[in-house]
């Protein structure tokens, strides 16, 4: 199964409370995805020459202070900001993504690099949506837009790395409800292009495929058109970029989605029960997105 949620807040006054607004949406999708949950939020941008690195480790008593200290001594670069929540941390630095990636792999192979970007923070972990939300203070998040996911694993293991959102590139992420039947062949095709995978999850194959298409020059729309040709299976995909949310459903609409467009926000969820508690929902335009069509909302 799995549940997806997305929220784009148009009213600037409400952006400080995006976490609070979203929380009932994510928890509303518990029955669709009780084993893990995750979220990517797009907040205030760091400086033009800075990047945020979202990190995760499976070790509960991991020494983050030591990592932060080693980063400084090994790379001689100041950590601009280091925000830690449970076993996630967001590290902000001037350094190039490749430098950080190589350093992490060499010195802290147990730390996973979840995402890189200037606006996006990502959290994902095993547990019910309410447990994960409490662990990472989702209710306190602020930002302009976010995508979230509740997972009921059907094709690969239940680990934080297999939870959604998946990311590739910078400030770009994807959540998926469904299952892809040609993920292994897609993965082999991408491996020939030199693309590496971190998990055996089918969604990661879709994520890396779309990111690869965009690196090859496609815009999001063209990349998704290639996606319709290449992805075989059931999917509702919700994507977040630095300034937009995008949604597509497979041509057979096997997986659900409902959208509520309001003057103050756009909210997306697998089912209406995750939208029912949003403010003034009675005056929102609620509709079911058509299959094989692309919906994009700009911040």
């Amino acid at each position: 199964m799995c549940g997806i949620v997305g929220l784009l807040v148009k009213n600037p006054k409400m952006r400080a409370n995006i976490g609070e607004l979203m929380l009932p949406m994510l928890i509303g999708m518990t029955e669709r995805g009780p084993d893990s949950a995750g979220l990517a939020v797009f907040g205030a941008a760091v400086g033009a020459d800075e990047r945020k690195f979202s990190l995760y480790t499976g070790e509960p008593d991991f020494n983050w202070q030591k990592l932060s200290h080693d980063f400084l001594t090994h790379l001689g670069s100041k950590v601009i900001n280091f925000a830690q929540k449970a076993n996630h941390a967001v590290l902000t630095t001037h350094l190039e993504p490749e430098t950080v990636k190589i350093w992490l792999k060499e010195h802290y192979p147990q730390v996973h690099l979840l995402a890189i970007g200037q606006l996006m923070d990502i959290y994902k972990d095993v547990g019910t949506p309410a447990e994960v939300a409490a662990r990472y203070d989702f209710s306190q998040l602020s930002g302009s837009h976010l995508v979230g996911h509740t997972r009921m694993a059907t094709e690969s293991a239940i680990t934080p790395a297999h939870a959604h959102p998946f990311t590739a590139g910078q400030d770009w992420c994807l959540v998926h409800n469904g299952s892809l039947s040609n993920a292994p062949s897609l993965r082999r095709k991408l491996q020939h292009e030199g693309i590496c995978f971190e998990t055996d999850n089918d969604t990661e194959a879709a994520c890396r495929f779309l990111e690869w298409r965009m690196r090859e020059g496609d815009d999001l729309k063209t990349a998704l058109e290639h996606g319709f040709e290449e992805l075989d299976g059931f999917y509702t995909l919700l994507m977040g970029t630095k300034d937009q949310l995008a949604l597509v459903r497979d041509p057979f609409a096997c997986k659900p989605a409902v959208v509520a467009e309001h003057d103050d926000y756009v909210a997306i969820a697998s089912e209406f029960r995750s939208l029912a508690h949003l403010p003034d929902i009675k005056n929102a335009k609620v509709f079911e997105p058509s299959p094989k069509e692309m919906y994009v909302w700009k911040v």
Partner: protein
């Protein structure tokens, strides 16, 4: 009419559904209103009495599924499988319906004022469905009996492998499924259409604006010459 009100924000759905399953003698002629449905699944499923039920808001999956005799109105929209396997009675959705609306329904009338999603009336077994808007792809797939009236358009593969159901469509059909073809509307067909338009609040719509689709009956028997097409 005696009226009873339930608020799903306060009363568990199971309690409401159990009440709706009380002996018919307790429920006949009663009007039950359900507030704050908030997209909950399985509201008013399996009713077997002459009750009228109004759901104020959006319902989730399988709303009014397996309905018998009862008259259920949903003021908002519904998720997948509204009135699936309905046997008799009436279900009215004022908003839109998601996929598989009225799937396998045997009898009764399902009225959807808005659009219906994919596979509307799939395997229809005798019920009547009137959709004020359009229906998605693969609607009336393997529909065996009953009637569908679609005031808007139909998506791809309408009536694929259809048996003896009648499909009246006012708008465009993106494509017809295997063995589905345009039929000449007989007086009897027209009478059925007029009656359904009247009963669904579309009495002002001209029956002449509809095209009837039905089975070409070429798939009824195995034909060795066509084995490659199966």
């Amino acid at each position: 009419m005696e009226s009873l009100k339930y608020d799903l924000a306060k009363t568990p759905l199971r309690e409401v559904n159990q009440f709706l399953h009380s002996d018919a003698s307790l429920l006949n002629g009663k009007h039950i209103e359900i507030n704050n449905p908030n997209g909950a699944h399985n509201i008013a499923v399996g009713l077997r009495s002459e009750a009228t039920v109004t759901i104020h808001g959006h319902a989730g999956y399988y709303a009014a599924g397996m309905n018998q005799i009862a008259d259920v109105t949903i003021e908002g929209s519904v998720g997948s499988g509204v009135a699936e396997n309905m046997m008799s009675g009436r279900v009215h959705v004022k908003g839109f319906a998601s996929n598989a609306a009225g799937a396998t329904a045997n009898g009764g009338l399902l009225v959807i004022d808005g659009d219906a999603g994919l596979r509307c009336g799939i395997s229809l077994k005798g019920a009547d469905i009137v959709v004020g808007g359009s229906v998605g792809s693969f609607s009336a797939f393997m529909a065996q009996a009953g009637n569908m009236v679609i005031l808007g358009d139909a998506g791809e593969g309408l009536g694929d492998s259809i048996y003896e159901a009648r499909l009246f469509v006012r708008g465009k059909v993106k494509s017809l499924g295997a063995d589905c073809e345009v039929k000449t509307m007989s007086l009897e067909d027209r009478k059925i259409l007029v009656d359904l338009l009247e009963r669904s609040g579309h009495g002002d719509v001209s029956p002449e604006s509809f095209t009837l689709y039905g089975s070409a009956r070429t798939l009824y028997h195995f034909n060795v010459a066509k084995s490659g097409a199966y």
